[in-house]
């Protein structure tokens, strides 16, 4: 009976509106989509009918008939990671203003899951897609190419993008951090990593490269886990690293800020002085980093801006197929050296 009520009541269609207003359904449709093409008199009548009936257009019918979905598909690897939330905010702000809806999926850092979800997204005829990173399955890439919609891969620079690309070099950022720590006189530099997604791996490789240039590589100073990142995990990994390194540690580069915070707090408990005894650097530069004591060094990444730009790129491609704007955009990053990495000894460089 509830179901019947539902069925019975849900049926306020454009035809109902038109009938009530005494016009053709086409005029009713125009009142909604092209009000300037309808005389004021009829417009009012139709609007009144819409209001009294509580008419809500059926998006499916509209999209089917007009072949326009006003949907932009977005795939991110994690909903609970602050980094992506800020990117998302940028995307929502820009696309929302332009009258587009976002359909968002969470791939859980899993390419197979991503493939499944992209298929789902494509079945909603998105007019564009924004996806994360470069580790799509071949099938996924093929689908996206065949779909012929503008695609932006974001968060990192991609060698051979499916279509467009915005991001920055995590490899270079990792290199820069390690190089900065070396320049501050550190030689035994540890690395803490969690979740270990492709971008974390790139940061790790950059770090390794910088160290190997000075023959300072040391695998026992790398502590990583596939488990998700958290402040608690940062403490755990820090404790493990401290043990493995037998206290012989000049600095630690954490693959993200949660780990860095956790590492800092753990050091405080272990009685390790930061930066007196050891330097610390995180990644992403979340809000808290600048305010904790000592303030924590980190790599500032323009996340909101990246979302904005990614959205602008697809909208640009949509607007008039105008090849305005570059296909690949390196948005850069800034290493913020703060109190946690004030040189404890004179800079050698």
């Amino acid at each position: 009976m509830l179901l019947d009520a539902r069925k019975a009541r849900k049926k306020v269609t454009l035809a109902d509106v038109a009938r009530m207003a005494g016009v053709s359904s086409m005029t009713a449709s125009r009142t909604i989509n092209y009000p300037e093409k309808v005389s004021e008199q009829l417009r009012d009548k139709v609007q009144q009918a819409i209001d009294t009936l509580g008419y809500i257009p059926n998006q499916f019918a509209s999209s089917l008939a007009s072949a326009r979905s006003h949907v932009i598909g977005v795939a991110i690897p994690s909903l609970s990671n602050t980094v992506f939330n800020e990117v998302l905010r940028g995307i929502y702000d820009v696309t929302g203003r332009a009258g587009y809806k976002v359909v968002l999926v969470d791939t859980h850092y899993c390419p197979a899951e991503e493939e499944r979800l992209v298929r789902t997204l494509l079945s909603q005829s998105p007019e564009a897609m924004i996806i994360t990173g470069a580790d799509q399955t071949d099938a996924c890439r093929t689908m996206l190419r065949r779909s012929c919609v503008p695609v932006v891969q974001m968060m990192e620079m991609v060698e051979a993008p499916i279509d467009m690309n915005i991001g920055f070099s995590h490899y270079q950022a990792g290199y820069d951090v390690a190089a900065g720590l070396l320049a501050r006189g550190c030689e035994r530099i540890g690395f803490l990593g969690a979740r270990m997604d492709p971008r974390v791996h790139q940061r790790l490789h950059g770090y390794r490269r910088a160290l190997s240039e000075r023959q300072l590589n040391n695998k026992t100073l790398e502590v990583t886990t596939e488990d998700p990142s958290s402040v608690g995990m940062g403490g755990q990994l820090m404790r493990q690293l401290w043990t493995q390194a037998a206290g012989q540690l000049d600095a630690v580069f954490c693959c993200n800020d949660d780990l860095a915070l956790g590492a800092l707090f753990e050091c405080q408990r272990l009685g390790i002085d930061i930066p007196g005894q050891m330097l610390l650097c995180g990644f992403n530069d979340m809000d808290a980093m600048a305010h904790v004591n000592p303030s924590l060094s980190s790599v500032h990444t323009p996340r909101y801006e990246m979302g904005v730009k990614a959205a602008e790129m697809v909208l640009g491609a949509l607007s008039d197929e105008g090849e305005t704007g570059p296909k690949r955009l390196d948005i850069g990053y800034t290493v913020k050296w703060r109190d946690s990495a004030r040189a404890p000894r004179p800079l050698t460089a």
Copy 2:
């Protein structure tokens, strides 16, 4: 031209698949939706055609024809608030497993915006809706009622829910924190608040109530702002409160954990000993709270579980209209008293 290519190529329809497989389009449709109703022989042929053509079903046509959208609409006030991300994760986990898609909107804590977005959502014929809190506009409530889809209001307990409700009492939680601080011998208890959404107001009212029962209310100890919450903001507000209170402060209740962290860091810089000189308590119990030094007291809220339950409630209502499960569910909370609120003096209670 690109557009033409797009148009031309996008047209892999079910009919194309059927033609290639030498069957009727209905058989092709069944192969996808009810494979057990098609002979293995034809099923293989159709599947092969699907694969070679790269066919992706058109969701709009499907939903229009079948009157089923498999969509659940979700409205949250902020994408960048970790609290909602965890709730969302619960929702996505449950609905995803059940074969539903989530369409998510961000109301920016604005009822008018929410109304607009709910209208948009309803135009996608969602089979259920999950929304946040109780401060909808009347028009919004009417729309939701008329839509006749199951609706869950989550995050707080609502007096007269539109349909279903899951949450906990922010008023009671605020009361409990203040009462706990009173019980620890504090008399001058400050309140820091940011963004001041309805739930924060409820916490504030609970706090006021506990204080007024002891005639300890003092408006100069309440520092709030409409600006968004952040660790930095927590520091700012703490500084302001410290000034206003002229150092006469036994404890501070922060309306959320970001503020609490910022307040703690600021206290460290101001040389205020926590908990020796002043107690501190936050709200939500994010990951970092248990690991910072001193560990921070907070109100633990089961966010992921709330998302899970909210999703289960709508799915339950959907499954068979079975009136299984309650319409209103108080999921509760737990005040976690940690080092930041160890009584500096003997408990009076």
